[in-house]
């Protein structure tokens, strides 16, 4: 069963000259990691906003088509209800701190307070979120005192704790160093393993090839390809994606006739090792 269904979605921001998205149709199966890739300006963030209901409820503009979240039409459902179904986290960890809370625990509690969750239940849920995202050590620190990677994990924890079945993550690692990226990716993997549906926008293709079950490619506001990571990322270079060095080396080797023509380009270390070993 699919938790997110997008039909002929289009969007134009108010006073924008052209469409940010056009004719997008796809479904996201439950308990999977779906990656969205594309060059800068391809419409990835806009799509995330639409999936989480911020289009049409937050951004002014002209929306066409429909997004269905567990069967509910996002246009007809109030945002406060949609966010309990689809959680959204985005690039800049600093701006995701509510500002209204003084410690990491309180910050995580913020969403639960808004949903009116009783304090006793909050306690267990916050404890679980702190543990899952490795924030126990800093639970009583100010959110502003954390490192970038910790702040981003706090942002994810704050969404996770509200227990939305679907989590949309818009480039959660773009501001992070490799260490921070690894931390966040590990957390995402755990979430998927626990049955959450993840939609992930990410530039680092090696991670996508490693984690994603499906990949969607956006190009100039349109959905140009979707499918399994290794197949889809074959022509990553044509869409302005940062191809892995494995794929690039393999392509060059293929052009020089050093490897077989019919084998798919490798995207991960493991695939590459097998690819070049034969």
């Amino acid at each position: 069963m699919s938790s997110l269904a997008v039909e002929q979605l289009g969007f134009q921001y108010v006073q924008a000259k052209s469409d940010a998205l056009r004719g997008i149709t796809f479904e996201v199966p439950s308990s999977s990691i779906t990656a969205i890739v594309g060059a800068n300006g391809a419409g990835k963030s806009t799509l995330c906003y639409a999936l989480a209901g911020f289009i049409p409820h937050f951004f002014k503009g002209n929306m066409r088509g429909a997004v269905r979240v567990n069967g509910m039409d996002s246009k007809q459902t109030p945002l406060a209800q949609l966010v309990t179904q689809v959680g959204l986290a985005f690039q800049n960890p600093f701006n995701q701190i509510s500002g209204a809370k003084l410690t990491v625990s309180e910050e995580i509690a913020f969403g639960l307070e808004n949903l009116g969750v009783p304090r006793a239940e909050m306690e267990t849920r916050i404890a679980r979120a702190l543990e899952l995202f490795g924030l126990e050590q800093v639970a009583h620190q100010s959110p502003y005192a954390l490192s970038g990677g910790q702040q981003q994990r706090l942002a994810l924890a704050s969404i996770f704790v509200m227990e939305p079945p679907v989590m949309v993550l818009d480039e959660p690692t773009s501001q992070l160093d490799p260490q921070g990226t690894r931390e966040v990716m590990a957390a995402i993997q755990t979430l998927a393993a626990q049955g959450r549906t993840i939609v992930l926008v990410e530039h680092k293709l090696e991670w996508i090839a490693e984690l994603a079950t499906r990949v969607l490619v956006l190009h100039h506001g349109e959905l140009v390809a979707q499918g399994a990571p290794r197949e889809i990322l074959q022509c990553a270079d044509e869409w302005g994606l940062n191809e892995t060095r494995y794929a690039r080396a393999a392509r060059m080797a293929r052009e020089r006739g050093l490897v077989a023509k019919d084998v798919l380009l490798p995207q991960t270390l493991e695939q590459a090792t097998n690819f070049f070993r034969v």
Partner: protein, 294 residues
């Protein structure tokens, strides 16, 4: 009163100000550099370094290794606790940041700490205007910066109507237009797609032709080994290795720096090759060679 900008407090005047704008051969000399933040954190520990004019160096290492602290010394943003930084014949202690801006251009990580004009063009013109570049030349410099950074189509756009990655290009362009003999880039690859990385590579080529010294702090090791002939590896406030991409073949260096090897190094290791190729071309050449010998 809050001193939101500390320049309202009394300041001593900095050095003399006889500027020579064209100073093509500026070597950087860092000697016995120590730096501790006011809260006591020791960020640099006895760093001595010489960077010759026209070098292209990537500074790599984990967060907290002292990379940004180091490069912030190169244009006087930070003044050493002990030791000296010489930019050509200028000691950074004796010159204000604004004076040093004639010699060292600095691209910051967060573009929003500096953008304030209502068009990209004006924003790029701000730096050169501060350096008293004449009107005619100013136009030419801005036009050139716009072109090199791929911003011609948005020259009259409001910087905040652009995406973050584009705003980052605006700050790069504003340094390009200052035409300093030395350029420092703090995490230039953040948020860039393949087109952006290619543009960055082209810009590095352009600077190379002009003998501009380029020092970049980056987390993107794949990019660093491909685009920078020289790497400076930092850990715990010290430079632990310096050299070309082959320094990353050394397992102990990677371990001390807490870094993952670049993809090709990892692949070469997995394939059991003795030494790792620095870029895709070298990798394929090595592959071809090994196929031939088989």
């Amino acid at each position: 009163m809050i001193f939101i900008f500390d320049f309202f407090q009394p300041h001593h005047s900095h050095g003399t100000s006889n500027f020579k704008n064209s100073n093509p051969k500026l070597n950087l000399q860092l000697s016995n550099l120590d730096f501790a933040y006011p809260n006591g954190t020791r960020a640099l520990n006895d760093v001595s370094l010489e960077i010759r004019a026209g070098s292209r160096i990537a500074v790599i290492g984990q967060n907290g290794a002292g990379k940004t602290t180091l490069v912030k010394h190169l244009n006087g943003l930070l003044k050493p606790t002990r030791g000296d930084v010489l930019i050509g014949d200028w000691n950074t202690r004796e010159h204000s940041i604004a004076q040093l801006a004639r010699r060292v251009g600095f691209v910051f990580q967060n573009p929003d700490d500096q953008l304030f004009k209502t068009s990209v063009r004006e924003e790029i013109a701000f730096g050169p205007t501060n350096l008293q570049v004449a009107a005619g030349e100013l136009e030419a410099r801005v036009a050139r910066a716009l072109e090199l950074c791929g911003l011609q189509n948005v020259r009259d756009t409001h910087p905040y109507d652009l995406q973050l990655w584009q705003r980052r290009w605006v700050t790069i362009a504003s340094v390009v237009a200052m035409q300093t003999p030395i350029v420092v880039l703090d995490e230039p690859t953040t948020g860039q797609d393949a087109f952006g990385l290619q543009r960055l590579a082209d810009l590095l080529e352009q600077w190379e032709r002009e003998h501009v010294t380029v020092i970049a702090v980056t987390h993107d090791l794949d990019f660093a080994v491909e685009q920078f002939p020289e790497l400076l590896v930092m850990a715990q406030g010290q430079v632990i290795a310096r050299g070309d991409a082959r320094v990353l073949n050394d397992e102990s260096v990677l371990k001390r720096a807490g870094l993952d090897a670049p993809q090709l190094v990892r692949l070469a290791n997995a394939l059991g090759w003795a030494d790792a190729p620095v870029n895709v071309r070298a990798f394929v050449a090595h592959l071809a060679q090994s196929k031939n010998t088989d």
